[in-house]
């Protein structure tokens, strides 16, 4: 059964719409810049992927997710308008929901009951569903940084099981003192902004985003056709050194999609910019593709690591790439590291046929995820 991506919406560090995201992909620009909210010395870096408007108020998670959903729903009106609301499901992907509320509550700053309610991901999901006419099943997925990929998988499964006729898949996480302080304590931030797969990379850059997809059954331009997951069972924060588990997730996704490695035209890597993640990912790609690895690029130099939104917003980049017949570049990549994928793209490549795309994700807790998309 074919699962189609019918519409997309995104609020990111490079703009408030998917069109602005596409402009940035074409120009290979970075949205990472010094952020005035994080100038305290406790922060290892304040070069972050902040949205222009997303962090005002006490409920930025709802705000960003709502904005992305509005854009996606507007594109899918002709489909959603014909469905009874109880046939529309919503799957939310988030790692920290509205963590802003916790900061406010512990600092005795104003915090509305709704903002406090949205500290709990499932309640945020329920309120987003109510606001967007989704009276079908509601799920909140939180599997660290692969949450977005798993949420798309869950949405596809709900459709395949007949639990809904359309699924709104939305991912959100916001820049917060809570998260930036934590990564600073781990010494995990790149002071000048992340540089995925670069020789001199030295850490990640947190970002924020709201990103949404509308999934439906039936033939469409871009389909979700495979997924796979695995766990390193090795370390909570450090990826396995050999990439074997990520390779396992990739092979599982290819099996579900009934494809061979040679069928993949483009890989959108997780590419956090940390030493170990990118090295592990390079090894996993080599294990699966050998010397015939397709073109690879990563988006976190453009958007930062948007956590619960990452899998969804980076999947949107893949959809845009296929539709525009281009392969995105890797913003902020200067000199590829030894061992990086041979066809690692610094700049976008245009006028190419992109039919099958592999999207990767990894996260704390040793989790790995892979998603396969088909275009045309």
């Amino acid at each position: 059964m074919e699962i189609t991506i019918a519409a997309c919406g995104a609020v990111t560090a490079v703009g408030e719409t998917v069109d602005e995201l596409l402009t940035a992909v074409r120009a290979n620009t970075s949205g990472l810049r010094p952020c005035g909210r994080f100038i305290d010395p406790v922060y290892q870096s304040n070069v972050l992927g902040a949205t222009a408007t997303g962090t005002d108020g006490d409920d930025p998670a709802f705000f960003l997710a709502d904005r992305a959903l509005r854009e996606a729903r507007a594109q899918a009106n002709s489909i959603l308008g014909k469905l009874p609301s109880n046939r529309i499901a919503l799957v939310l992907s988030t790692t920290k929901a509205n963590i802003e509320a916790l900061e406010r509550l512990t600092d005795a700053r104003p915090c509305s009951p709704t903002a406090r309610r949205h500290l709990q991901g499932q309640l945020l999901a329920i309120d987003l569903a109510a606001a967007h006419g989704a009276a079908g099943p509601v799920q909140c997925v939180s599997v660290a940084c692969i949450s977005g990929l798993v949420a798309i998988e869950q949405g596809a499964k709900l459709l395949q099981r007949g639990a809904a006729d359309a699924v709104l898949v939305v991912g959100v996480d916001c820049l917060s003192a809570f998260v930036v302080t934590g990564f600073s304590a781990l010494k995990a931030l790149d002071p000048i902004g992340c540089r995925p797969f670069d020789r001199d990379r030295c850490g990640l850059s947190p970002g924020e985003a709201g990103a949404a997809l509308v999934l439906t059954r039936g033939k469409g331009e871009t389909a979700v056709c495979g997924w796979g997951g695995s766990n390193d069972a090795n370390h909570l924060t450090g990826p396995s050194r050999d990439g074997a588990s990520l390779a396992l997730a990739i092979r599982r996704a290819l099996t579900v999609a009934e494809l061979e490695p040679r069928d993949i035209d483009y890989v959108n890597a997780h590419g956090t910019g940390t030493q170990y993640n990118d090295a592990m990912e390079s090894l996993a790609l080599r294990a699966v593709f050998g010397d015939a690895c397709p073109p690879v690029s990563a988006a976190k130099g453009m958007l930062g690591h948007t956590m619960g939104a990452a899998g969804i917003v980076e999947t949107i980049i893949c959809v845009l790439a296929a539709r525009q017949r281009l392969i995105p570049g890797t913003p902020r990549l200067s000199s590829p590291a030894d061992g990086a994928p041979e066809q690692l793209l610094k700049e976008p490549r245009t006028s190419v046929n992109v039919r099958h795309i592999l999207k990767l994700g990894t996260g704390f807790g040793g989790v790995n995820g892979a998603l396969v998309l088909r275009h045309g």
Binding site: S142, G182, D232, F364
Partner: protein
Amino acid sequence: MADIVITAASVVAPQDVGRFRFGIRFGRLDPFCQLGLVAVEALGIDFSTQPRSEVAICVATNAGSLSTDVQYWQSRNEPGGVSPTLFVYTLPSTVIGEIAIRHGLTGPDLCLIGGSAELLDEAADLLRRNEAAVCLAVYCDVVSSSAAETIRLRAEARACAAYLQRGGSGGYTLTKNDRDMISLCARLCSLREKDHHHGRVGCRA
């Protein structure tokens, strides 16, 4: 559609933590991960009998890591600032990593925030799709008194676990009416307790 059976179930509370032996690392885990690990340990499963890459872990939690979130964020004013170790436990899915590391399980993972109602459905669906041979389903909630006060939730700590497989000669066959994992695990354990086969913690269904 293939039958899905539960061959082991457990229900645990914080007082059960001391009944099992863990390594020295256990003391460094947050209470949420500790209780989740104990629920799995109480199943008494020997994971060496099957390929560990074929064991999926599905977790559901209502409060997730909120108690650890509160503890972590309150610690920022202490000398030295926040604990990087504690930061890692501010993800609700960290319990999956702890279970995977302890038992070497490299199958696919899922973590749902919310009640336990969808957990059994999702675990069974994963098995019916042959995405794993067996699935560890774990429901865990720990709300500390500090978190309860800050977030206005009810303080509680409870966990249960079930070991699910496709068809087979033994075990409890999952039905469409088995929506709530907590009550199902409690029912399965209670049945065994009456038979005097096992104690309150853990049972073979």
